[in-house]
């Protein structure tokens, strides 16, 4: 009944096992050899994504948008942080100001309220100088905006800053590039001299170097001033140049324009800003207390009055406002990113479900030849993660690109962080795992018979 001898055709069990031991069972079950299956899954995922380029691309969009938003905002804010830190640390934590209105006003009601306050006058400044014994250096500044003209070059409103004494240059933390600051005598006697920011030279003396511009005349607000010095550039902050301004002595300003004339809503020409600097930052608080007491006294405020009637601010005010604003921006960005990642995740899940349906037959074949649930699961998870990780990588690139463009436009240092790139790709990969789980599970538990029957 059997064509061959018993021993040849029906080898004993031991021997049969021996024949098949080319792949010993022990070795097969070792988990590191599952690398073969994982690598297969990887290749299959790659070819599947390549096969459906358009679909893959569309799937990526949600993820790309989310990651782009995060990377761009993080990069921009990191750059701004550095700019802001440099800018405000230049004045140092030993300076505070006394002014009529705070520099930052957040509501119209406040603006009206602050406008009703008394102006800060020279008398106020004198009283502060006289009565504050912790104070080291102090000065006054009046800010204005005036039309400027030189030959054919004209501009409608250039920032004009009138300061006294010359120590205010130090408090303002500006340095001379060409020429000199005006002398104390020139300042006090109200000479028609000025020190200009570097952008003034660029705009009004386009064919001259700062050195050549020194000694020449400039018309500002209808008055002629001789340039005695040009400042080193300070650069931009939030896209606004800090070098397009003209400094003149306070006495000159008083002579040419007079005080207590409000020429515009936003200039403080009628009201002065008093600058106070202490020798060390430890003394700042006691100096502030002294000045506050002096000023409250002058404004006739008692203990009962909540409002000072003036604004006493350090640079911290601005820094606090800045960090509050940026943390809000962070929150909004995280929100936008979260929404687009969720939407992106749903799209990926949808596409993966389509992919599972399309490849039911393939799943059946794989299962028939021995793929286990976790092999199929791995295959589809890898595919989902690959889509989202690629989306994340693209997002990182476009995010950095966006930040770079914005940095180019408004001028701040670009700090690419590996950390945010890794986070971008990492988070989107996690989105891939989450949105791939259910489709992969559906694929894994397909009945091989049913799956093989699919067309």
């Amino acid at each position: 009944m059997f064509p061959r001898s018993e021993s040849q055709l029906n080898p004993p069990l031991e021997q049969t096992v021996q024949r098949r031991i080319i792949l010993p069972a022990k070795v097969r079950s070792l988990s590191f050899l599952r690398i073969a299956a994982v690598w297969e899954a990887f290749l299959v995922a790659l070819s599947s994504l390549r096969q459906n380029k358009l679909r893959t691309g569309l799937t990526l969009i949600g993820i790309i948008v989310g990651v782009t938003a995060v990377i761009a905002v993080v990069t921009i804010i990191k750059g701004l942080d550095q700019t802001v830190a440099q800018t405000f640390s230049s004045q140092g934590s030993t300076v505070f100001t006394v002014s009529k209105r705070p520099r930052v006003i957040t509501s119209r009601e406040d603006f009206i309220k602050f406008n009703k306050r008394k102006d800060i006058t020279e008398d106020d400044a004198q009283a502060i100088f006289r009565l504050c014994n912790v104070c080291w250096r102090s000065g006054v500044a009046a800010n204005d905006a005036v039309p400027v003209k030189r030959g054919n070059q004209k501009a409608d409103a250039i920032a004009l800053r009138a300061i006294a004494p010359t120590a205010m240059f130090d408090i303002d933390a500006v340095a001379i590039d060409a020429g000199r600051f005006w002398s104390e005598t020139e300042g006090a006697s109200g000479q028609a001299v000025c020190v200009v920011g570097s952008d003034i030279i660029t705009n009004f003396f386009p064919y001259e170097t700062p050195d050549q511009a020194v000694g020449q005349d400039l018309w500002a607000g209808g008055h002629r001033y001789r340039i005695v010095g040009v400042l080193q550039p300070l650069g931009k902050i939030f896209g606004v140049s800090r070098d397009e301004r003209i400094f003149i002595p306070f006495a000159t300003y008083k002579k040419d324009y007079g005080l207590n004339i409000v020429r515009g809503t936003f200039n403080t020409s009628g009201s002065l800003v008093v600058f106070v600097q202490t020798e060390s930052s430890d003394q700042l608080e006691s100096a502030e207390d002294q000045v506050r007491a002096v000023m409250r006294n002058r404004r006739g405020k008692t203990f009962k009055d909540e409002d000072d009637g003036f604004a006493l601010e350090t640079e911290d005010v601005f820094l606090n406002l800045y960090s509050k604003a940026t943390s809000n921006i962070y929150l909004v960005t995280i929100g936008v990113a979260a929404i687009s990642l969720v939407v992106g995740g749903i799209v990926v899940m949808n596409i993966m479900l389509v992919s599972v349906t399309e490849r039911t037959k393939e799943i059946g074949i794989r299962k028939a030849v021995g793929a286990r649930r976790k092999d199929i699961m791995t295959q589809f998870l890898i595919e989902a993660v690959m889509v989202t990780a690629i989306g994340g990588a693209f997002g990182v690139l476009t995010g950095f690109g966006t930040a770079w463009l914005i940095a180019l436009a408004i001028g701040f240092p670009l700090l690419f962080s590996v950390w945010s790139a890794a986070l971008g790709v990492g988070v989107s990969s996690i989105v891939g795992v989450i949105s791939g789980l259910w489709p992969a599970w559906r694929a894994a538990k397909l009945d091989p018979i049913e799956a093989l029957r699919a067309e």
Partner: protein, 255 residues
């Protein structure tokens, strides 16, 4: 013998019986033992019995054909033999292992190691080369890359396709595709080669060629089970089991 087994178990239906592997009585060459296999499908309110009490044994090296009209239950039986499915009742021993109690992943492992499938429609991965298709069982068996290539090439040379290794299925003729599928079935040295209407999609000449290949593989010592409804194909086997209405109608040694 078949009827006797059926009778016994019908008496004790509902009672959990733990039979011993039949080979324990000394028949070391016993490869398949089906003992009173039932397969029942729950169709809503109605229960459909695709198989009711099928028992038979297959020894190592047999060339068996399972025939029967459509709806006879032969596909269900093939799925059970191939470990794609488990019986509702009864025991199935394959190469000393009781398959009827296995879970999905254990079945996958058995399919990987013990069963080589050949399908009517070939069921090759369309995007993969012939070589990769043949490697597929080895990939899931965890065979390292170099070894895998070598084994797959060996299997392809056994079906005379050494020169078509890098072709995709759509670049191959029907006969060549079926030979790739046979190479895939053989590559892991399974206990049984299970072919479901392997010539169903092929013309007469190619069918003849494929059947000759099966003959050659059997001569080399492989155990082959053919599922077919064509009598002339079944006639190439050495033993024919006819299924009708979920029962074995005839089990005869024809060669």
């Amino acid at each position: 013998m078949t009827e006797a087994t059926v009778a016994t178990t019908q008496d004790s239906a509902g009672v959990l019986i733990k039979p011993k592997m039949p080979s324990s009585d000394g028949k070391a060459d016993l490869l398949i033992a089906m003992q009173n296999i039932w397969k029942t499908y729950d169709m809503g309110a109605e229960k459909v019995h695709a198989l009711h009490g099928v028992s038979f044994e297959v020894r190592r090296g047999e060339y068996l054909a399972i025939t029967g009209p459509s709806g006879s239950g032969k596909s269900t039986l093939m799925n059970l033999i191939g470990c794609l499915d488990t019986p509702s009742q009864g025991d199935y021993w394959l190469n000393g292992k009781n398959v009827s109690e296995m879970d999905d992943d254990e079945l996958a492992r058995i399919r990987n190691q013990e069963v080589g499938f050949v399908f009517q429609t070939f069921n090759l991965l369309a995007r993969a080369t012939a070589l990769h298709n043949v490697e597929l069982p080895l990939i899931y068996g965890g065979v390292p890359g170099a070894k895998r290539h070598e084994m797959a090439k060996q299997a392809l040379s056994e079906v005379d396709l050494t020169d078509r290794m890098m072709h995709r299925p759509n670049e191959l003729s029907g006969g060549q595709r079926q030979r790739v599928a046979i190479a895939r079935a053989l590559v892991n040295h399974p206990s049984i080669l299970l072919a479901d209407e392997p010539t169903g999609a092929l013309d007469t000449a190619t069918s003849y060629e494929i059947m000759n290949l099966f003959q050659k593989l059997h001569d080399e010592g492989n155990t082959i089970i053919l599922v077919t409804h064509e009598h002339d194909i079944a006639a190439r086997a050495h033993r024919v089991i006819s299924i009708r209405d979920g029962l074995i109608e005839k089990d005869e040694q024809i060669r």
